[in-house]
Structures are given as structure tokens and as C-alpha cells.
């Protein structure tokens, strides 16, 4: 039994990354397909306004919208902001202005970037035109950005009657966020001890239960766990499953067994893989011990100790 040590929180980089695949409604599909062919489409609302970018439903009446129209690739800046330090994923890598642009023939504005030499070259009311991306795939980024324009104003929106062949049906939007993960006091204490091959649980001062791994609070009493208790290293399989699906980037042959293991002295089972025994011989009550990988900071898996199985009554409350 050791009093909880002063906080020395761990930190580690964490990247959350996912390519979102999104299907499109008919209006969105027409708009993005249009961009691929350097055509800007809007949609006319029941009260006659032209929305660009177009949406499937009227933002005021919620009517379904289908009346596609074509507008000009030129327009007017309705508001702007100077971005001196472009970030990952933004349209330009050099300083630029964020702009809302009302295209000629449209009644609403589109958000995009304006390539300009500096903030003094940008103003509300400035005339701009679309600079198209060299390669276009049917996405908002087919507009590379806007650029200054001093030519003639485009006319009103005209009906769009062309049916696109091979319309864009969906987009893939990659998303990546970078974090510095910090697990907090209790889990930092746990992970530090684990690196020395010692497993600490934490005891609830109210109900006296020992939680492994500790997360800082007793979920029954809602109070901080504050007393470290060494548990294990041996434990009992309380329940298990047989995994038949091979996980990506995981070098483990299937089938294998994943189990809840109640370490000796703990009042909550933790998860672990069972090895060193054929998968079909793993059973509830099996006594196991951790196998540490050579440079691992945590047990690679658990293997049988060879002890007689634990009696059901000793772990039935831990299922």
C-alpha cells in the first residue's frame, strides 16, 4: 500500500485521421459536377432567390428545391478577413483573404479564399472571379481560389438544362486532427508503474473497491480514488471471447482469445489477450500471469500459470 504520488502527468502524440465518405443529394451532386466542368450552378427558391452554393432544401421555408440555374464565375466580395498564416488544408499556402463572394446572378454568398498580395488590396465590394483548379474532381476545392477581376459583370442566372453524364455521387473528405494526449493523474501513475512491471490499482476511500486500471474516480461513489494498491501479477480469467477477425496492423494469428482478467487484489477485471494455450482450452477460472514484451511498457499477453482453476465463487462478483 502506497500513498498516491504527486502528479507527474504523461503525454504522447495522438493522431485521429479518417477519410469521410459522403453521399450527395441531387442538388449538391449537380453543383459539384458543375464545378468539375467549370460551371457554377445555383438553385432557385420558391420566392425566386438564387442560392449559391445551392442546397437541397430552402433555408427559410424548408421546401424541397430542384430548379437549377447557372450563374457567372465572377462576383463581389461581401465580407473578408485577412489570414496571414495559412494552416494545413486551407486553399492557399501563402497569406490570403477569406471571402464571402456573391457571384453575379446569385443572391447569397459562397465562402472561399481570395489570392491577393496583401490586406490593403482587399475590400468589401471588390470584384473577383474564380480561379479554377488545374485538376478537378467534383469538389468545392475545384475552385482553387478567387482572384481580382476588372472585366464585365455577369448577367442574371439562366436555367440549367444540361444533364451531366457521369455525375459526382459522393465525396471523400479526409480529416486529420493532431492531439497531445494526456491521460491525467491516476492513469499516469498507473502507466509509470507498469513500465517497471508493477501493476497498481487505486482504492475508493468510500466503498474500498480497487480499480485496475484506475481512471481517477470511483464510478459507484463518484469520488477520487486516492490510495495506490499493488495488485497481481497473477489473475483469473472471468470471461472471454474467441476472436476470428484479423485486425489490421496487428501481427497476431487468429483465432485467439481475448479475456477479462481479474488480477489478484483487484475489484474490476481488465482486458488482455491469452496466449501459451490453444484457444479452445481457455476457460472461465483459468489462472494466468502477464508475459512482458522485451521492450514493452505493458504486458503483451497473459499465459496460464499452471495453478488449479479458481473456484467460481471467488470471481463471480467480478464478471
Amino acid at each position: 500500500m502506497t500513498p498516491a504520488s504527486p502528479p507527474e502527468a504523461l503525454q504522447a502524440p495522438l493522431v485521429v485521421e479518417f477519410p469521410f465518405t459522403r453521399s450527395l443529394g441531387p442538388v449538391q451532386s449537380a453543383f459539384l459536377t458543375g464545378l468539375r466542368t467549370r460551371t457554377v450552378l445555383g438553385v432557385r427558391t420558391t420566392d425566386g432567390r438564387v442560392l449559391v452554393p445551392p442546397v437541397e432544401y430552402d433555408p427559410v421555408t424548408a421546401d424541397e428545391l430542384t430548379d437549377l440555374v447557372e450563374v457567372a464565375p465572377t462576383g463581389t466580395v461581401t465580407t473578408w478577413a485577412w489570414n496571414p498564416a495559412p494552416r494545413r488544408g486551407q486553399p492557399l499556402s501563402t497569406p490570403f483573404a477569406w471571402v464571402l463572394v456573391r457571384l453575379d446572378g446569385a443572391d447569397t454568398a459562397l465562402l472561399h479564399a481570395l489570392d491577393a498580395p496583401g490586406p490593403d488590396a482587399v475590400r468589401t465590394g471588390a470584384r473577383v472571379r474564380i480561379r479554377w483548379a488545374a485538376e478537378r474532381v467534383g469538389a468545392i476545392t475545384d475552385i482553387a481560389c478567387f482572384e481580382s477581376y476588372d472585366g464585365a459583370e455577369g448577367g442574371p442566372a439562366v436555367p440549367h438544362r444540361v444533364t451531366f453524364t457521369d455525375p459526382v455521387r459522393g465525396i471523400v473528405a479526409p480529416a486529420r486532427l493532431d492531439y497531445t494526449y494526456a491521460p491525467g493523474r491516476a492513469q499516469s501513475r498507473y502507466l509509470r508503474a507498469l513500465a517497471d512491471r508493477v501493476t497498481y490499482g487505486e482504492r475508493c476511500p468510500s466503498c474500498r473497491k480497487v480499480y485496475v486500471p484506475p481512471r481517477g474516480a470511483c464510478p459507484t461513489c463518484g469520488v477520487a480514488t486516492d490510495e495506490q494498491v499493488e495488485v497481481g501479477p497473477r489473475g483469473t480469467v472471468t470471461t472471454f471471447c474467441i476472436v476470428n477477425i484479423k485486425a489490421r496492423n496487428l501481427d497476431i494469428e487468429v483465432p485467439y482469445v481475448y479475456a477479462h482478467i481479474a488480477l489478484d487484489g483487484a475489484d474490476l477485471a481488465l482486458h488482455g489477450r491469452i496466449g501459451g494455450i490453444p484457444y479452445d482450452q481457455v476457460r472461465m477460472g483459468l489462472r494466468v500471469e502477464p508475459v512482458w514484451s522485451e521492450h514493452g511498457r505493458y504486458p503483451d499477453h497473459y499465459r496460464p500459470t499452471g495453478e488449479p482453476d479458481a473456484d467460481y465463487d471467488t470471481y463471480k462478483e467480478l464478471l
Binding site: P7, T79, A81, G89, L110, I171, P219, G222, V223
Partner: protein, 359 residues
């Protein structure tokens, strides 16, 4: 209609980085603070509702782990919104109005320090036309501020100049000197602020909220239970929330019709408030809100310092309701307006009216 009041409010100290604590370790002391204030245990609370977002710290299902700090086993009646805690309070309020519960615990927290908040918030935008451009939260607020600066200054209060915005910043952070929980306190005078460079023109650093970590909690109670738990309950006389069309280019960014409508339905205009806690993370947004809420010059606005002094995501709106209630509790205010916002450029707005009994 059943009477429901905020009877306790607590918050953490808001800080730029709380890497030493997990979310539950940050939230738990605040929960204990409000429960102790009313002498209840978590198991005696009728309904619990929280507001948070996994995107901030990049932790899947983080709200379930935060729930450990409540003591949710054996199972309690509980709910969660992926929104500011002000909307969790709204859900709890409706639950109490139905008579299904006598008391509710509402809490919210946000740890923005593990991630890049300006980038994280791009993920709440329209995924087809806007999110692929990764426009960060300060840039979107700057577009709104520029629209306000471009607008004519009229008798109704539309339009503003950069000096007005700097004045909002200086007043808020000076007021925050009396708020022990604030993250940013004190300010040079507006003229000195205007000498600083732009962050995202037309916004300077002083126009933007601090990024930080924090948590807040309130206890709600109905009728005589509220009177028993609190010397001067902050009765919720009305509360409503509304949203704008989600495309920024459809909106007039200098106006907030959703705030006006929510205020009408919450009963704001039936009598003037003497205090207003506005959730305006950017200085320009306070100008817009003041007009929509028809706040007279005499109304004390954000004596706590508001979101310009501490803006823990998902909690800052609930804190506005809590600060307004706390002013009623201590007798510093008889009728308070509280406002919360969510999303880019005041996308969604919640307005509540709180009153104390006549002394």
C-alpha cells in the same frame, strides 16, 4: 407552469492547459462543489445531464468516463448533449417541467489544450462545401466582424468601429479582475489595444477569447424543493433556443434573428433585466447581441468578464447561466438575462430569464 430554479453553481479555474488532470479529474471537484452547496448526494438527484465534445481532446466516448465522477452506478437517470452545457440545462429544465424529476444536476466541460482548437472547430462545419476548406474559427469570426465594421452605424445599434470592439475587450477583462476563475484578467486601455497587430484582420488578439480548459456545474430544483435548497433561488422565468440557416453566405452576419426570437419567447422584453451574461466569444458578437436583446446602457453586461475572460468550450454557455444565477442568489440582481451560443458566427443561440423573489 411548474416553477424551476437554478439553486447552485460552481466552476473550475479556467486555465490554458490542464495536462496534469484527466477530464473526470477536472470535472469531479466542481460536481462535489455544487452537490455540497445543496447538501445532496448524486444518487438523490432526479436527473443528470451533461454537455461536452469528444473532438476537443480527441477522446472517444469521453463523456462516459466523465460520468464516473458523478457516481452513475447503480444506473441513474442520465443524458448527454454534444453541445454546450447550456443546452444540457435546457433538457434538464424540460425534464423538471414535466414533473418527472424534482432536482437535476447539469455539468459541462471542455479540454481544448490537447488539440488545435481552431482546427478542431472546422469539423463542425458543412462537410460538403465548407469543411474541406478548413476555415478556422477565428477567421470565420473575422468575416462576421468585418461585416459589422462595414455596416452603417445606425440608431438601432448596428455597425461598430474597431475602437468600440477594443472597448468591449478592455471592459470585459477589467471586470474579470474580480472573477477568481477567469483565465485572462486585466487589460490595457482601448487605445493601447488598437496599437497591437491584427491576428486575423480585422480581429486583433484582444478581440478573441482565450483558449483553455474548464468545467462548470449547476443544480436545478423545482418549487418548494428549490426554496428548501437555496436561500434565494434563481427562478427560470423563460428559456428558448433557436438556430440560423447553416450556410454563412445565406445569413446577414450583422444580425442574429435567432437570438431575437429566442429572447421574445423567453420573455426578455416583458421587463428590463438589470444584468446580462452574454456568451460572446468575440468582441464583435457582443455588439450584435446587445442590439438583438435591446439592452439599455444601464444594464450590467458580463460583470464576470464573459467569454473574453474564459471560454472553456462546451462550458462557457452554461457558465453564463450560472453566473447570472449566482448574482440572483447573492442578491446582486433581481432579473437577469443569460445567453449561450454555439457554432460559428453565433449559429445557435439560447436565451433565458432568471429572477429572484422580491426581497
Amino acid at each position: 407552469m411548474r416553477e424551476v430554479a437554478i439553486v447552485a453553481f460552481g466552476q473550475s479555474d479556467h486555465r490554458r492547459d490542464t495536462a496534469e488532470t484527466s477530464e473526470v479529474e477536472m470535472v469531479m471537484p466542481v460536481l462535489h462543489q455544487v452537490l455540497d452547496a445543496v447538501g445532496l448526494r448524486a444518487g438523490e438527484i432526479g436527473f443528470t445531464c451533461s454537455g461536452s465534445s469528444d473532438y476537443l481532446a480527441g477522446r472517444a466516448f469521453s463523456f462516459t468516463m466523465a460520468l464516473d465522477g458523478v457516481g452513475a452506478w447503480p444506473p441513474i437517470s442520465e443524458s448527454h448533449v454534444e453541445m454546450d452545457g447550456a443546452w444540457a440545462l435546457y433538457e434538464a429544465w424540460t425534464r423538471l417541467l414535466t414533473g418527472e424529476a424534482e432536482t437535476a444536476l447539469v455539468y459541462a466541460y471542455g479540454k481544448s489544450s490537447p488539440g488545435d482548437l481552431r482546427e478542431v472547430l472546422t469539423r463542425q462545419l458543412d462537410p460538403y462545401y465548407v469543411a474541406p476548406l478548413w476555415p478556422d474559427s477565428v477567421s470565420l469570426a473575422a468575416l462576421q466582424a468585418q461585416a459589422l465594421l462595414d455596416a452603417e452605424v445606425d440608431a438601432e445599434g448596428t455597425g461598430a468601429d474597431e475602437r468600440t470592439l477594443a472597448g468591449v475587450a478592455a471592459r470585459s477583462r477589467t471586470a474579470a479582475e474580480d472573477n477568481p476563475h477567469a483565465q485572462l484578467t486585466g487589460s490595457p486601455p482601448p487605445e493601447a489595444l488598437l496599437a497591437e497587430p491584427y491576428l486575423v484582420r480585422p480581429l486583433r488578439r484582444h478581440d478573441c477569447p482565450p483558449i483553455g480548459d474548464g468545467a462548470a456545474a449547476v443544480v436545478l430544483a423545482a418549487g418548494d424543493t428549490a426554496r428548501r435548497l437555496c436561500r434565494r433561488p434563481a427562478w427560470i422565468r423563460g428559456m428558448d433556443h433557436r438556430t440560423e440557416a447553416h450556410s454563412l453566405g445565406v445569413r446577414n452576419l450583422t444580425r442574429s434573428p435567432s437570438t431575437r426570437l429566442a429572447a421574445e419567447r423567453a420573455g426578455v422584453f416583458e421587463a428590463p433585466p438589470d444584468l446580462a451574461e452574454l456568451h460572446a466569444p468575440f468582441t464583435s458578437q457582443e455588439v450584435i447581441l446587445r442590439r438583438e436583446l435591446r439592452l439599455a446602457e444601464a444594464v450590467r453586461v458580463n460583470p464576470s468578464g464573459g467569454a473574453l475572460a474564459a471560454n472553456p468550450m462546451m462550458a462557457a454557455g452554461l457558465i453564463r447561466l450560472g453566473e447570472a444565477a449566482a448574482a440572483v442568489h447573492r442578491g446582486a440582481c433581481d432579473r437577469a438575462l443569460a445567453h449561450a451560443t454555439s457554432g460559428p458566427c453565433l449559429q445557435q443561440n439560447l436565451v433565458a430569464v432568471l429572477e429572484g423573489d422580491v426581497r
